[in-house]
Amino acid sequence: MSAVEEVEGVVVVGPLVVVGLGSPDRGDDAVGGAVAARVGERMGGQVRVVTREDPTALIQLWGGCREAIVVDAVASGREPGTVQVIEAGADAPPLPTDAFAASGRGGTHAFGLAGAVELARALGTLPPRVIIVGVEAATFAYGPMSPQVSASIGAAAAAVEAELAREGIEATTCA
């Protein structure tokens, strides 16, 4: 637990959290957890790294944080394995909630990352800085990750670590 800080008039507690989001069963949706595992190993306990399957859990998880880094599979039409970094915190413009409203995986009751970000924004609990490290998926079918996405785990982990380095947190092990 870090000291209480004040960021632009908002009192926040705690440093940051890294979240690997997605289902380990659903093909490339497992990439969030895989990247989180890689980052967790290399950070040696300096930062909180967790995995979650349920995006609604993010809203409480990152409550009070100054920053959250969320790794998730995305479907944006790019080449599978492409890593994108998107800023989505309270200081960033809103995400298009069409993605929450009209796409994604998991059925009627599922709730997407974009929905979690925008719901937290509406509730006033969105951290000032939310970094989404998105890995373009090739498949969400039950089974293993695609070769392209498996091959991008290192690049996605590097994107997370670059953000952590910006915060002054460096890896403790070699890549």
Partner: protein, 435 residues
């Protein structure tokens, strides 16, 4: 989105409820102020679970069928383990059954909290989504998230995973949770119970359309408790009651052209499973506190207004918290996590009460323990005829509303069922055609 058809009819497209995995739709045709056609179209691609269970080992259905749904996996696990234990001829222990009930409480809490506040309440409060609702009812949404987290944590502690638990097996569990881990959940469960009881009062203040339906209610029933993880028998509001094993004799599935999900009849008629049925057929088994909460919220011991399902669901939410606390308070360490099972040729049925209604599985297994036949009958499939009946009633009752208002009313009528069309559909495209 609204546009006019060539014949002057109107088409309304309603946005989807959440993330998409398939498509479902609703077609309503109105002629001379009368509804001439109602179809709940489920476009979900066939998933062939029953087919690929054939040839699998009898121990596999709990893990395989749990993957059918991320919201009600425990329902599938409970029904499949019970069916297999019937076939194997084994009795589990009271401790195992109690822990199964606790796991199921987690699922009910997760599912009911999500549906009540994030999917259904916006219909009553005049919002299109929980995102809009959060702007003015932030405290309610925060409460919903707290409640849902309780369910996730309970599932994680007992089932090993918040979604698709991995600790369930034929014969019991792979390991029992430690009392210390369960006790650690107690404070949030206590707060959850208080929140849920307050929520009963909150939802009772909503403005409910006046609509009563004469459904045949069907539910599990147990002599000792409100039905969750299993029941001793099946009861119906028609007065029929029979052992779970006879479910296939009473429920007939059939295919209709406009749906990829099988419809069903109970003794030849449409029927209704879910919270309203459970509540009406088992009110006497609710705890005194939940009975009191229900009655003070304006319910009677029976409920036939589908829009008031949100009150019943919230009563069940409170009951799940109460049950979870009761079970944890009575738990001790040292119980065997499972009983041994061995394959035996035979056929068996298992049933449980998923958040949205009775689910039952039937399996036939050979002497080597290989599944030869499987039948999985989820609640939303069984409720399709009732959903269509409600839409017909709603469209006729409120035919004078403009298309926008009628669309909202009809969509709310669908959501009364908390349809797990993912187990089925994720996209509702409501089309009203007037001529």
């Amino acid at each position: 989105m609204t546009h006019t058809l060539k014949d002057g009819g109107q088409v309304l497209n309603v946005g989807m409820l959440a993330r998409v995995e398939g498509e479902g739709g609703m077609h309503i045709e109105i002629k001379d102020r009368k509804v001439v056609d109602v179809q709940l179209n489920i476009f979900e691609p066939p998933r062939f679970y029953e087919g690929f269970l054939r040839g699998r080992h009898y121990t596999e259905p709990p893990d395989i069928t749990a993957r059918i749904c991320g919201i009600c996996p425990v329902a599938y696990q409970s029904a499949s383990t019970e069916a297999m234990e019937v076939i194997c001829g084994v009795q589990t222990t009271d401790a195992i059954q109690t822990m199964r009930r606790l796991l199921y409480c987690g699922e009910w809490i997760e599912s009911h909290a999500l549906h009540i506040f994030m999917l259904h309440a916006p219909d009553f409060l005049g919002y299109d989504s929980v995102l809009e609702m959060a702007e003015t009812h932030g405290d309610v949404v925060q409460m919903a998230l707290r409640l849902k987290k309780c369910g996730n944590d309970l599932m994680d502690t007992v089932g090993g995973r918040a979604i698709h638990p991995v600790n369930v097996r034929v014969g019991g569990f792979y390991r029992m949770p430690a009392l210390a881990d369960l006790m650690a959940l107690r404070p949030e469960l206590e707060r959850g119970l208080e929140d849920a009881l307050a929520a009963v009062q909150l939802v009772s203040t909503f403005d409910f359309p006046d609509m009563e339906q004469d459904y045949t209610y069907v539910s599990l029933r147990h002599p000792d408790y409100y039905p969750l993880e299993r029941g001793a028998e099946v009861v119906a509001s028609s007065g029929v009651r029979f052992p779970v094993a006879e479910m296939p004799l009473h429920v007939e599935e059939f295919h209709v052209a406009h749906s990829n999900a099988l419809h069903a009849r109970f003794d030849g008629e449409p029927f209704f499973v879910g919270p309203l049925a459970r509540y009406t057929l088992n009110f006497d088994q609710l705890s005194p506190r939940c009975q009191e909460a229900a009655l003070s919220a304006g319910l009677t011991e029976t409920c036939r207004n589908p829009f008031k399902s949100i009150i019943v669901r919230t009563v069940e939410l409170a009951y799940a918290f109460e049950e979870a606390l009761r079970i944890i308070d009575g738990w001790t360490d040292g119980h065997a996590p499972s009983v041994p099972t061995w394959p035996r040729a035979g056929e068996g049925v298992g049933a449980s009460e998923a958040p949205r209604g009775t689910i039952w599985h039937r399996y036939r297994v050979n002497e080597a323990g290989i599944i030869e036949d499987a039948q999985i009958v989820p609640p939303t499939s069984q409720n399709q005829s009732s959903i269509e009946m409600d839409l017909r009633t709603a469209a006729e009752q409120w035919v004078d509303l403009d298309d926008h208002a009628l669309t909202h009313r009809c969509e709310a009528a669908i959501r009364n069922y908390d349809p797990c069309i993912s187990c089925a559909t994720h996209f509702l495209d409501l089309r009203v055609k007037r001529s």
